[in-house]
Protein backbone atom coordinates (compact mmCIF):
# COMPACT_ATOMS: atom_id res chain seq x y z
CA UNK A 1 0.00 0.00 0.00
CA UNK A 2 1.40 3.38 -0.98
CA UNK A 3 1.69 6.13 1.63
CA UNK A 4 -1.08 8.18 0.07
CA UNK A 5 -3.35 5.19 -0.08
CA UNK A 6 -2.85 4.73 3.65
CA UNK A 7 -3.83 8.32 4.22
CA UNK A 8 -7.04 7.83 2.26
CA UNK A 9 -8.05 4.93 4.44
CA UNK A 10 -7.13 6.87 7.54
CA UNK A 11 -9.22 9.85 6.51
CA UNK A 12 -12.24 7.69 5.79
CA UNK A 13 -11.98 6.06 9.19
CA UNK A 14 -11.73 9.43 10.85
CA UNK A 15 -14.84 10.82 9.19
CA UNK A 16 -16.71 7.62 9.92
CA UNK A 17 -15.79 7.94 13.59
CA UNK A 18 -16.99 11.53 13.65
CA UNK A 19 -20.28 10.47 12.10
CA UNK A 20 -20.80 7.65 14.52
CA UNK A 21 -20.51 9.81 17.60
CA UNK A 22 -23.15 12.24 16.44
CA UNK A 23 -26.66 12.47 17.75
CA UNK A 24 -29.11 13.03 14.94
CA UNK A 25 -32.79 13.76 15.21
CA UNK A 26 -33.70 11.33 12.47
CA UNK A 27 -33.04 7.73 13.30
CA UNK A 28 -29.84 6.56 11.73
CA UNK A 29 -30.62 3.97 9.10
CA UNK A 30 -28.12 1.46 7.88
CA UNK A 31 -26.16 1.82 4.69
CA UNK A 32 -24.94 4.89 2.86
CA UNK A 33 -26.44 8.34 3.39
CA UNK A 34 -27.40 8.60 -0.28
CA UNK A 35 -27.87 5.76 -2.71
CA UNK A 36 -28.84 6.38 -6.33
CA UNK A 37 -29.33 3.50 -8.76
CA UNK A 38 -30.00 3.69 -12.49
CA UNK A 39 -31.75 7.05 -12.25
CA UNK A 40 -33.33 8.43 -15.41
CA UNK A 41 -34.89 11.80 -16.12
CA UNK A 42 -35.84 13.39 -19.41
CA UNK A 43 -37.46 16.70 -20.25
CA UNK A 44 -39.48 15.79 -23.31
CA UNK A 45 -37.04 14.29 -25.81
CA UNK A 46 -34.03 15.61 -23.98
CA UNK A 47 -32.58 12.93 -21.69
CA UNK A 48 -30.77 14.66 -18.82
CA UNK A 49 -30.02 11.72 -16.56
CA UNK A 50 -29.36 8.45 -18.37
CA UNK A 51 -28.74 5.89 -15.66
CA UNK A 52 -26.99 7.59 -12.75
CA UNK A 53 -25.44 5.38 -10.05
CA UNK A 54 -23.96 7.00 -6.96
CA UNK A 55 -23.32 6.19 -3.32
CA UNK A 56 -22.39 8.71 -0.66
CA UNK A 57 -21.00 7.36 2.61
CA UNK A 58 -22.26 8.79 5.89
CA UNK A 59 -20.28 11.76 7.13
CA UNK A 60 -18.40 12.29 3.91
CA UNK A 61 -18.22 15.22 1.50
CA UNK A 62 -18.84 14.18 -2.08
CA UNK A 63 -18.49 16.64 -4.93
CA UNK A 64 -20.59 16.11 -8.01
CA UNK A 65 -18.57 17.63 -10.78
CA UNK A 66 -19.89 18.49 -14.20
CA UNK A 67 -20.15 21.23 -16.77
CA UNK A 68 -23.23 23.43 -17.14
CA UNK A 69 -26.21 21.39 -18.21
CA UNK A 70 -24.67 18.07 -17.16
CA UNK A 71 -27.69 17.36 -14.96
CA UNK A 72 -26.23 18.14 -11.54
CA UNK A 73 -29.12 20.32 -10.47
CA UNK A 74 -31.64 17.82 -11.85
CA UNK A 75 -30.10 15.07 -9.72
CA UNK A 76 -30.13 17.25 -6.60
CA UNK A 77 -33.74 18.29 -7.21
CA UNK A 78 -34.77 14.64 -7.46
CA UNK A 79 -32.95 13.84 -4.21
CA UNK A 80 -34.61 16.87 -2.59
CA UNK A 81 -38.11 15.60 -3.62
CA UNK A 82 -38.66 18.68 -5.78
CA UNK A 83 -38.66 16.67 -8.99
CA UNK A 84 -39.78 13.14 -9.82
CA UNK A 85 -37.46 10.77 -11.64
CA UNK A 86 -38.71 8.85 -14.68
CA UNK A 87 -37.05 5.59 -13.60
CA UNK A 88 -34.57 4.22 -11.10
CA UNK A 89 -34.31 4.58 -7.33
CA UNK A 90 -32.94 7.25 -5.04
CA UNK A 91 -32.65 6.72 -1.30
CA UNK A 92 -31.73 9.43 1.20
CA UNK A 93 -30.96 8.47 4.81
CA UNK A 94 -32.65 5.13 4.22
CA UNK A 95 -35.86 6.61 2.79
CA UNK A 96 -37.01 6.32 -0.82
CA UNK A 97 -37.59 9.75 -2.40
CA UNK A 98 -40.54 8.49 -4.45
CA UNK A 99 -42.49 6.65 -1.77
CA UNK A 100 -41.31 8.21 1.51
CA UNK A 101 -40.97 11.85 0.46
CA UNK A 102 -42.08 13.22 3.84
CA UNK A 103 -39.44 11.21 5.75
CA UNK A 104 -36.82 12.19 3.16
CA UNK A 105 -37.69 15.86 3.66
CA UNK A 106 -37.13 15.35 7.38
CA UNK A 107 -33.62 14.05 6.72
CA UNK A 108 -31.96 16.70 4.58
CA UNK A 109 -31.58 20.39 3.95
CA UNK A 110 -31.16 21.93 0.54
CA UNK A 111 -29.07 24.97 -0.24
CA UNK A 112 -30.03 25.73 -3.81
CA UNK A 113 -28.13 27.37 -6.60
CA UNK A 114 -29.25 30.84 -5.58
CA UNK A 115 -29.37 31.89 -1.94
CA UNK A 116 -32.99 31.34 -0.91
CA UNK A 117 -33.36 34.02 1.71
CA UNK A 118 -36.19 36.39 2.52
CA UNK A 119 -34.94 39.85 1.55
CA UNK A 120 -37.63 41.74 3.40
CA UNK A 121 -36.88 40.06 6.72
CA UNK A 122 -33.71 40.53 8.75
CA UNK A 123 -31.07 37.83 9.03
CA UNK A 124 -32.26 36.85 12.49
CA UNK A 125 -35.90 36.74 11.35
CA UNK A 126 -34.95 34.41 8.51
CA UNK A 127 -33.30 32.02 10.96
CA UNK A 128 -36.16 32.22 13.46
CA UNK A 129 -38.62 31.51 10.64
CA UNK A 130 -36.87 28.29 9.65
CA UNK A 131 -36.34 27.31 13.30
CA UNK A 132 -40.10 27.63 13.90
CA UNK A 133 -40.89 25.61 10.80
CA UNK A 134 -38.51 22.92 12.01
CA UNK A 135 -40.25 22.97 15.41
CA UNK A 136 -37.21 23.90 17.45
CA UNK A 137 -37.82 24.39 21.17
CA UNK A 138 -36.14 27.78 21.35
CA UNK A 139 -36.06 29.40 17.87
CA UNK A 140 -34.46 32.62 19.14
CA UNK A 141 -31.57 30.75 20.78
CA UNK A 142 -31.04 28.64 17.65
CA UNK A 143 -30.92 31.83 15.57
CA UNK A 144 -28.46 33.58 17.89
CA UNK A 145 -26.16 30.58 17.98
CA UNK A 146 -26.03 30.39 14.17
CA UNK A 147 -25.58 34.15 13.81
CA UNK A 148 -22.49 33.90 15.99
CA UNK A 149 -21.20 30.81 14.23
CA UNK A 150 -21.50 32.40 10.79
CA UNK A 151 -20.24 35.84 11.78
CA UNK A 152 -23.55 37.56 11.12
CA UNK A 153 -24.29 38.90 14.59
CA UNK A 154 -23.58 42.51 13.65
CA UNK A 155 -25.84 42.35 10.61
CA UNK A 156 -28.52 40.29 12.38
CA UNK A 157 -31.10 43.06 12.63
CA UNK A 158 -30.55 44.41 9.13
CA UNK A 159 -32.77 43.53 6.22
CA UNK A 160 -31.22 40.83 4.08
CA UNK A 161 -31.69 43.06 1.02
CA UNK A 162 -28.66 45.01 2.30
CA UNK A 163 -26.41 41.91 2.60
CA UNK A 164 -23.50 41.12 0.30
CA UNK A 165 -23.50 37.95 -1.80
CA UNK A 166 -21.22 36.17 0.65
CA UNK A 167 -23.35 37.14 3.64
CA UNK A 168 -26.48 35.90 1.89
CA UNK A 169 -24.82 32.61 1.14
CA UNK A 170 -23.66 32.21 4.74
CA UNK A 171 -27.16 33.00 5.98
CA UNK A 172 -28.56 30.54 3.43
CA UNK A 173 -26.27 27.77 4.67
CA UNK A 174 -26.98 28.67 8.30
CA UNK A 175 -30.72 28.32 7.58
CA UNK A 176 -30.06 24.88 6.15
CA UNK A 177 -28.35 23.70 9.34
CA UNK A 178 -31.33 24.29 11.62
CA UNK A 179 -32.74 21.05 12.96
CA UNK A 180 -29.39 19.34 12.47
CA UNK A 181 -30.28 17.41 9.29
CA UNK A 182 -28.02 14.39 8.72
CA UNK A 183 -27.67 15.14 4.99
CA UNK A 184 -27.07 18.47 3.24
CA UNK A 185 -27.29 19.17 -0.48
CA UNK A 186 -25.35 22.17 -1.69
CA UNK A 187 -26.10 23.03 -5.30
CA UNK A 188 -23.25 25.14 -6.69
CA UNK A 189 -22.77 26.93 -3.38
CA UNK A 190 -20.10 29.32 -4.64
CA UNK A 191 -21.28 30.16 -8.15
CA UNK A 192 -21.34 33.93 -8.55
CA UNK A 193 -19.39 34.61 -5.35
CA UNK A 194 -16.17 36.59 -5.14
CA UNK A 195 -13.01 34.75 -3.97
CA UNK A 196 -13.32 35.87 -0.36
CA UNK A 197 -16.93 34.79 -0.10
CA UNK A 198 -16.01 31.48 -1.68
CA UNK A 199 -13.41 30.87 1.01
CA UNK A 200 -16.05 31.68 3.65
CA UNK A 201 -18.39 29.08 2.16
CA UNK A 202 -15.65 26.46 2.00
CA UNK A 203 -14.94 26.95 5.67
CA UNK A 204 -18.63 26.53 6.49
CA UNK A 205 -18.77 23.30 4.52
CA UNK A 206 -15.70 21.92 6.28
CA UNK A 207 -17.19 22.71 9.65
CA UNK A 208 -20.32 20.82 8.63
CA UNK A 209 -18.40 17.70 7.76
CA UNK A 210 -16.47 17.95 11.01
CA UNK A 211 -19.81 17.74 12.78
CA UNK A 212 -20.55 14.49 10.97
CA UNK A 213 -23.03 15.80 8.41
CA UNK A 214 -23.04 14.12 5.01
CA UNK A 215 -22.55 16.71 2.29
CA UNK A 216 -23.33 16.28 -1.39
CA UNK A 217 -22.22 19.36 -3.26
CA UNK A 218 -22.37 20.13 -6.95
CA UNK A 219 -19.81 22.34 -8.56
CA UNK A 220 -18.35 23.24 -11.90
CA UNK A 221 -15.14 24.46 -10.28
CA UNK A 222 -12.49 21.76 -10.23
CA UNK A 223 -10.58 23.53 -7.50
CA UNK A 224 -13.62 23.51 -5.24
CA UNK A 225 -13.96 19.75 -5.56
CA UNK A 226 -10.25 19.36 -4.92
CA UNK A 227 -10.41 21.59 -1.84
CA UNK A 228 -13.43 20.10 -0.17
CA UNK A 229 -14.34 16.63 -1.23
CA UNK A 230 -13.48 13.22 0.18
CA UNK A 231 -14.72 11.73 -3.06
CA UNK A 232 -15.44 13.21 -6.44
CA UNK A 233 -18.03 11.97 -8.90
CA UNK A 234 -17.98 13.27 -12.44
CA UNK A 235 -21.36 13.59 -14.11
CA UNK A 236 -21.11 13.73 -17.87
CA UNK A 237 -23.82 13.30 -20.48
CA UNK A 238 -26.24 11.92 -17.94
CA UNK A 239 -23.98 9.31 -16.32
CA UNK A 240 -21.37 9.15 -13.58
CA UNK A 241 -18.26 8.45 -15.64
CA UNK A 242 -15.75 8.53 -12.77
CA UNK A 243 -16.07 8.24 -9.02
CA UNK A 244 -13.30 8.12 -6.44
CA UNK A 245 -10.92 10.06 -4.23
CA UNK A 246 -8.79 12.71 -5.87
CA UNK A 247 -5.79 10.39 -5.63
CA UNK A 248 -7.74 7.61 -7.29
CA UNK A 249 -8.92 9.90 -10.07
CA UNK A 250 -5.38 11.09 -10.60
CA UNK A 251 -4.24 7.55 -11.14
CA UNK A 252 -6.53 7.40 -14.15
CA UNK A 253 -3.99 9.57 -15.89
CA UNK A 254 -0.37 8.70 -16.77
CA UNK A 255 1.89 8.89 -13.68
CA UNK A 256 3.27 12.29 -12.75
CA UNK A 257 6.77 13.27 -13.83
CA UNK A 258 8.98 15.45 -11.70
CA UNK A 259 9.57 18.82 -13.31
CA UNK A 260 10.96 22.03 -11.92
CA UNK A 261 8.76 24.99 -12.75
CA UNK A 262 8.88 28.44 -11.24
CA UNK A 263 5.64 28.85 -9.36
CA UNK A 264 3.99 32.19 -10.11
CA UNK A 265 1.23 33.27 -7.73
CA UNK A 266 -2.21 33.03 -9.29
CA UNK A 267 -4.24 36.21 -9.60
CA UNK A 268 -6.53 34.85 -6.93
CA UNK A 269 -3.63 34.43 -4.51
CA UNK A 270 -2.47 37.97 -5.28
CA UNK A 271 -5.98 39.32 -4.80
CA UNK A 272 -6.44 37.62 -1.47
CA UNK A 273 -2.99 38.66 -0.26
CA UNK A 274 -3.52 42.28 -1.27
CA UNK A 275 -6.95 42.64 0.33
CA UNK A 276 -5.43 41.08 3.43
CA UNK A 277 -8.32 38.84 4.33
CA UNK A 278 -7.67 36.91 7.53
CA UNK A 279 -8.65 33.70 5.76
CA UNK A 280 -6.09 34.14 3.01
CA UNK A 281 -3.27 32.46 4.78
CA UNK A 282 -5.32 29.45 5.66
CA UNK A 283 -6.45 28.92 2.11
CA UNK A 284 -3.46 29.46 -0.05
CA UNK A 285 -0.85 27.77 2.07
CA UNK A 286 -2.73 25.47 4.30
CA UNK A 287 -5.88 25.12 2.30
CA UNK A 288 -5.75 21.44 1.41
CA UNK A 289 -8.71 20.37 3.50
CA UNK A 290 -7.80 16.76 3.91
CA UNK A 291 -4.44 15.13 4.02
CA UNK A 292 -6.02 12.45 1.89
CA UNK A 293 -6.55 14.69 -1.07
CA UNK A 294 -3.02 15.97 -1.17
CA UNK A 295 -1.29 14.17 -3.99
CA UNK A 296 2.20 14.94 -2.78
CA UNK A 297 1.69 13.20 0.52
CA UNK A 298 3.82 15.84 2.19
CA UNK A 299 1.15 18.17 3.39
CA UNK A 300 1.37 19.79 6.77
CA UNK A 301 -1.07 18.59 9.43
CA UNK A 302 -4.50 20.04 8.99
CA UNK A 303 -5.40 23.00 11.10
CA UNK A 304 -8.96 23.42 12.18
Amino acid sequence: MSPERKKVVHAVERTAAAGGGRSTSARPADGPAIRVADLHKAYGDHAVLRGVDLEVARGSIVALLGSNGAGKTTLVRILATLLRADAGTAVVHGFDVATQAAQVRGSFSLTGQFAAVDEILSGRENLVLVARLRHQDDPAAVADELLTRFGLTEAAARRVATYSGGMRRRLDIAMSLIGDPPVIFLDEPTTGLDPEARVEVWQSVRRLAEGGTTVLLTTQYLEEAEQLADRIAILHEGRIIADGTLAELKRLLPPARVEYVEKQPTLEEVFLAVVGNGTTHGTTHDGAPRAATDPTGTTSPRRS
Binding site: A80, T81, L82, L83, R84, A102, R105, G106, F108, S109, L110, G112, Q113, F114, A115, A116, V117, D118, E119, I120, L121, E125, L129, V130, R132, L133, R134, H135, M175
Partner: protein, 254 residues
Protein backbone atom coordinates in the same frame (compact mmCIF):
# COMPACT_ATOMS: atom_id res chain seq x y z
CA UNK B 1 -47.45 14.96 9.99
CA UNK B 2 -50.09 16.02 12.46
CA UNK B 3 -52.88 18.51 11.89
CA UNK B 4 -51.50 20.73 14.65
CA UNK B 5 -48.22 20.97 12.77
CA UNK B 6 -50.02 21.85 9.55
CA UNK B 7 -51.92 24.65 11.29
CA UNK B 8 -48.88 25.86 13.25
CA UNK B 9 -46.69 25.84 10.12
CA UNK B 10 -49.31 27.71 8.10
CA UNK B 11 -49.60 30.26 10.92
CA UNK B 12 -45.82 30.79 10.93
CA UNK B 13 -45.76 31.21 7.15
CA UNK B 14 -48.74 33.58 7.24
CA UNK B 15 -46.97 35.64 9.90
CA UNK B 16 -44.06 35.94 7.50
CA UNK B 17 -46.11 37.19 4.53
CA UNK B 18 -48.11 39.54 6.78
CA UNK B 19 -44.79 41.04 7.84
CA UNK B 20 -44.06 41.63 4.16
CA UNK B 21 -47.30 43.62 4.01
CA UNK B 22 -46.64 45.64 7.15
CA UNK B 23 -43.07 46.39 5.99
CA UNK B 24 -44.37 47.78 2.69
CA UNK B 25 -47.50 49.47 3.94
CA UNK B 26 -47.43 51.49 0.71
CA UNK B 27 -48.81 48.43 -1.11
CA UNK B 28 -52.00 48.69 0.94
CA UNK B 29 -52.17 52.43 0.39
CA UNK B 30 -51.60 52.14 -3.39
CA UNK B 31 -54.21 49.39 -3.48
CA UNK B 32 -56.65 51.87 -1.94
CA UNK B 33 -55.50 55.00 -3.78
CA UNK B 34 -56.73 54.11 -7.28
CA UNK B 35 -60.24 53.16 -6.15
CA UNK B 36 -60.39 56.25 -3.94
CA UNK B 37 -59.31 58.47 -6.86
CA UNK B 38 -62.00 56.83 -8.99
CA UNK B 39 -64.54 57.38 -6.24
CA UNK B 40 -63.68 61.09 -6.05
CA UNK B 41 -63.60 61.46 -9.84
CA UNK B 42 -67.01 59.92 -10.33
CA UNK B 43 -68.64 61.60 -7.34
CA UNK B 44 -67.29 65.14 -7.92
CA UNK B 45 -66.67 65.26 -11.70
CA UNK B 46 -68.79 62.81 -13.65
CA UNK B 47 -71.46 61.85 -11.13
CA UNK B 48 -73.40 65.12 -11.49
CA UNK B 49 -74.46 64.05 -14.96
CA UNK B 50 -75.33 60.46 -14.00
CA UNK B 51 -78.93 59.72 -13.12
CA UNK B 52 -79.17 56.66 -10.91
CA UNK B 53 -82.53 57.20 -9.34
CA UNK B 54 -81.01 57.19 -5.84
CA UNK B 55 -80.49 60.38 -3.84
CA UNK B 56 -76.76 59.93 -3.15
CA UNK B 57 -74.36 58.96 -5.96
CA UNK B 58 -71.53 58.04 -3.55
CA UNK B 59 -73.84 55.52 -1.89
CA UNK B 60 -74.78 54.16 -5.32
CA UNK B 61 -71.11 53.98 -6.41
CA UNK B 62 -69.42 52.49 -3.35
CA UNK B 63 -70.18 48.77 -3.96
CA UNK B 64 -68.56 48.90 -7.42
CA UNK B 65 -65.54 50.73 -6.03
CA UNK B 66 -65.14 48.01 -3.40
CA UNK B 67 -65.05 45.37 -6.16
CA UNK B 68 -62.35 47.38 -7.98
CA UNK B 69 -60.38 47.65 -4.72
CA UNK B 70 -60.25 43.87 -4.42
CA UNK B 71 -59.38 43.43 -8.11
CA UNK B 72 -56.37 45.73 -7.76
CA UNK B 73 -55.42 44.35 -4.31
CA UNK B 74 -54.98 40.75 -5.44
CA UNK B 75 -52.35 41.88 -7.96
CA UNK B 76 -49.99 42.30 -4.98
CA UNK B 77 -50.70 38.73 -3.91
CA UNK B 78 -49.59 37.50 -7.33
CA UNK B 79 -46.52 39.73 -7.01
CA UNK B 80 -45.58 38.42 -3.56
CA UNK B 81 -46.03 34.82 -4.65
CA UNK B 82 -44.01 35.41 -7.82
CA UNK B 83 -41.20 36.90 -5.71
CA UNK B 84 -41.17 33.82 -3.47
CA UNK B 85 -40.97 31.51 -6.46
CA UNK B 86 -38.17 33.54 -8.06
CA UNK B 87 -36.12 33.97 -4.88
CA UNK B 88 -36.17 30.25 -4.13
CA UNK B 89 -38.01 30.69 -0.82
CA UNK B 90 -40.84 28.63 -2.22
CA UNK B 91 -38.53 25.71 -2.98
CA UNK B 92 -36.94 26.04 0.41
CA UNK B 93 -40.35 25.57 2.02
CA UNK B 94 -41.21 22.74 -0.37
CA UNK B 95 -38.04 20.87 0.50
CA UNK B 96 -38.76 21.13 4.24
CA UNK B 97 -40.82 18.69 6.29
CA UNK B 98 -43.88 20.96 6.41
CA UNK B 99 -47.32 20.78 4.79
CA UNK B 100 -46.84 21.70 1.15
CA UNK B 101 -50.13 23.56 0.87
CA UNK B 102 -49.13 25.77 3.82
CA UNK B 103 -46.95 27.99 1.65
CA UNK B 104 -49.94 28.75 -0.62
CA UNK B 105 -52.47 29.22 2.16
CA UNK B 106 -50.13 31.72 3.83
CA UNK B 107 -50.36 33.92 0.75
CA UNK B 108 -54.13 33.47 0.48
CA UNK B 109 -54.76 34.43 4.12
CA UNK B 110 -52.40 37.39 3.85
CA UNK B 111 -54.25 38.54 0.73
CA UNK B 112 -57.49 38.43 2.70
CA UNK B 113 -56.12 40.53 5.55
CA UNK B 114 -54.45 43.09 3.24
CA UNK B 115 -57.61 43.48 1.14
CA UNK B 116 -59.85 43.92 4.17
CA UNK B 117 -57.59 46.75 5.36
CA UNK B 118 -57.73 48.41 1.91
CA UNK B 119 -61.51 48.00 1.83
CA UNK B 120 -61.80 49.64 5.25
CA UNK B 121 -59.71 52.59 4.00
CA UNK B 122 -61.99 53.04 0.97
CA UNK B 123 -65.16 52.85 3.08
CA UNK B 124 -63.61 55.41 5.44
CA UNK B 125 -63.07 57.89 2.61
CA UNK B 126 -66.59 57.21 1.31
CA UNK B 127 -67.98 58.05 4.77
CA UNK B 128 -66.04 61.31 4.76
CA UNK B 129 -67.59 62.39 1.46
CA UNK B 130 -71.17 61.57 2.37
CA UNK B 131 -71.74 57.82 2.13
CA UNK B 132 -74.41 56.81 4.62
CA UNK B 133 -76.13 53.53 5.35
CA UNK B 134 -78.74 52.58 7.89
CA UNK B 135 -77.92 48.88 7.45
CA UNK B 136 -77.96 46.76 10.59
CA UNK B 137 -75.14 44.53 11.82
CA UNK B 138 -76.54 41.49 10.03
CA UNK B 139 -76.63 43.29 6.67
CA UNK B 140 -73.07 44.57 7.19
CA UNK B 141 -71.96 41.04 8.06
CA UNK B 142 -73.54 39.83 4.83
CA UNK B 143 -71.67 42.57 2.89
CA UNK B 144 -68.37 41.61 4.53
CA UNK B 145 -69.12 37.94 3.83
CA UNK B 146 -69.65 38.58 0.11
CA UNK B 147 -66.49 40.69 -0.07
CA UNK B 148 -64.50 37.94 1.71
CA UNK B 149 -65.72 35.24 -0.70
CA UNK B 150 -64.98 37.52 -3.68
CA UNK B 151 -61.49 38.26 -2.31
CA UNK B 152 -60.78 34.54 -1.86
CA UNK B 153 -62.03 33.79 -5.39
CA UNK B 154 -59.87 36.47 -7.01
CA UNK B 155 -56.92 35.59 -4.74
CA UNK B 156 -56.87 32.02 -6.08
CA UNK B 157 -56.87 33.49 -9.60
CA UNK B 158 -53.90 35.60 -8.45
CA UNK B 159 -52.18 32.44 -7.15
CA UNK B 160 -52.33 30.89 -10.64
CA UNK B 161 -50.85 34.08 -12.09
CA UNK B 162 -48.12 34.23 -9.42
CA UNK B 163 -47.12 30.58 -9.94
CA UNK B 164 -47.05 30.66 -13.73
CA UNK B 165 -45.77 34.17 -14.54
CA UNK B 166 -42.34 34.55 -16.06
CA UNK B 167 -41.97 38.23 -15.21
CA UNK B 168 -43.12 40.68 -12.54
CA UNK B 169 -45.32 42.47 -15.07
CA UNK B 170 -46.90 39.19 -16.11
CA UNK B 171 -47.65 38.34 -12.50
CA UNK B 172 -49.90 41.36 -12.04
CA UNK B 173 -51.21 41.83 -15.61
CA UNK B 174 -54.12 39.43 -14.97
CA UNK B 175 -55.72 42.03 -12.73
CA UNK B 176 -56.18 44.66 -15.46
CA UNK B 177 -59.28 43.04 -17.00
CA UNK B 178 -60.61 42.43 -13.48
CA UNK B 179 -60.34 46.15 -12.78
CA UNK B 180 -61.98 47.00 -16.11
CA UNK B 181 -64.93 44.58 -15.98
CA UNK B 182 -66.87 46.58 -13.33
CA UNK B 183 -67.16 49.46 -15.82
CA UNK B 184 -69.46 47.32 -17.97
CA UNK B 185 -71.84 46.57 -15.13
CA UNK B 186 -74.30 48.40 -12.91
CA UNK B 187 -71.36 49.65 -10.79
CA UNK B 188 -71.19 53.19 -12.23
CA UNK B 189 -74.47 53.68 -14.12
CA UNK B 190 -77.73 51.76 -14.25
CA UNK B 191 -77.67 49.15 -17.02
CA UNK B 192 -80.94 50.48 -18.54
CA UNK B 193 -79.00 53.29 -20.23
CA UNK B 194 -76.77 50.87 -22.19
CA UNK B 195 -77.39 49.71 -25.80
CA UNK B 196 -78.70 46.13 -26.36
CA UNK B 197 -75.69 43.77 -26.48
CA UNK B 198 -73.69 45.79 -23.95
CA UNK B 199 -76.67 45.84 -21.64
CA UNK B 200 -77.08 42.09 -22.01
CA UNK B 201 -73.43 41.56 -21.09
CA UNK B 202 -73.63 44.01 -18.18
CA UNK B 203 -76.72 42.38 -16.72
CA UNK B 204 -75.34 38.86 -16.99
CA UNK B 205 -71.80 39.30 -15.76
CA UNK B 206 -70.95 38.62 -12.11
CA UNK B 207 -70.07 42.17 -11.05
CA UNK B 208 -73.65 43.41 -11.56
CA UNK B 209 -75.17 40.78 -9.27
CA UNK B 210 -72.46 41.34 -6.65
CA UNK B 211 -72.79 45.12 -6.78
CA UNK B 212 -76.61 45.02 -6.77
CA UNK B 213 -76.62 42.69 -3.76
CA UNK B 214 -74.26 44.87 -1.73
CA UNK B 215 -76.20 47.98 -2.74
CA UNK B 216 -79.49 46.43 -1.64
CA UNK B 217 -78.01 45.25 1.67
CA UNK B 218 -76.61 48.71 2.44
CA UNK B 219 -79.87 50.41 1.44
CA UNK B 220 -81.93 47.96 3.57
CA UNK B 221 -83.83 46.80 0.52
CA UNK B 222 -84.74 43.18 -0.28
CA UNK B 223 -81.86 41.46 -2.10
CA UNK B 224 -84.05 39.10 -4.13
CA UNK B 225 -82.31 36.42 -6.20
CA UNK B 226 -79.27 38.65 -6.80
CA UNK B 227 -77.54 37.33 -3.70
CA UNK B 228 -77.89 33.74 -4.93
CA UNK B 229 -76.48 34.63 -8.34
CA UNK B 230 -73.68 36.69 -6.75
CA UNK B 231 -72.67 33.93 -4.35
CA UNK B 232 -72.91 31.28 -7.07
CA UNK B 233 -70.48 33.30 -9.22
CA UNK B 234 -68.07 33.92 -6.34
CA UNK B 235 -68.09 30.35 -5.04
CA UNK B 236 -67.89 28.99 -8.61
CA UNK B 237 -64.84 31.10 -9.46
CA UNK B 238 -63.35 30.26 -6.06
CA UNK B 239 -63.64 26.50 -6.58
CA UNK B 240 -62.46 26.46 -10.19
CA UNK B 241 -59.55 28.85 -9.49
CA UNK B 242 -58.49 26.91 -6.39
CA UNK B 243 -58.53 23.59 -8.22
CA UNK B 244 -56.57 25.09 -11.11
CA UNK B 245 -54.11 26.72 -8.68
CA UNK B 246 -53.53 23.47 -6.79
CA UNK B 247 -53.05 21.59 -10.07
CA UNK B 248 -50.53 24.22 -11.22
CA UNK B 249 -48.80 23.95 -7.87
CA UNK B 250 -48.55 20.16 -8.03
CA UNK B 251 -47.26 20.29 -11.60
CA UNK B 252 -44.55 22.69 -10.48
CA UNK B 253 -43.64 20.36 -7.64
CA UNK B 254 -43.62 17.23 -9.81
Amino acid sequence: MTTTHVLADTAVLTGRTLRHVTRSIDTIVTTAVTPIAMLLLFVYVLGGAIRTGSESYVTYLLPGILVITIASGVAYTAFRLFTDVKSGMFERFQSMPIARSGALWAHVLTSLVANLISLALVVGVALLIGFRSGADVLAWLAVVGILVVLTLALTWVAVIAGLTASSVEGASAFSYPLIFVPFISSAFVPTESMPGPVRWFAENQPVTSIVDTIRALLAQEPVGTDIVVALAWCVGVLLVAQLAAMATYRRRAA
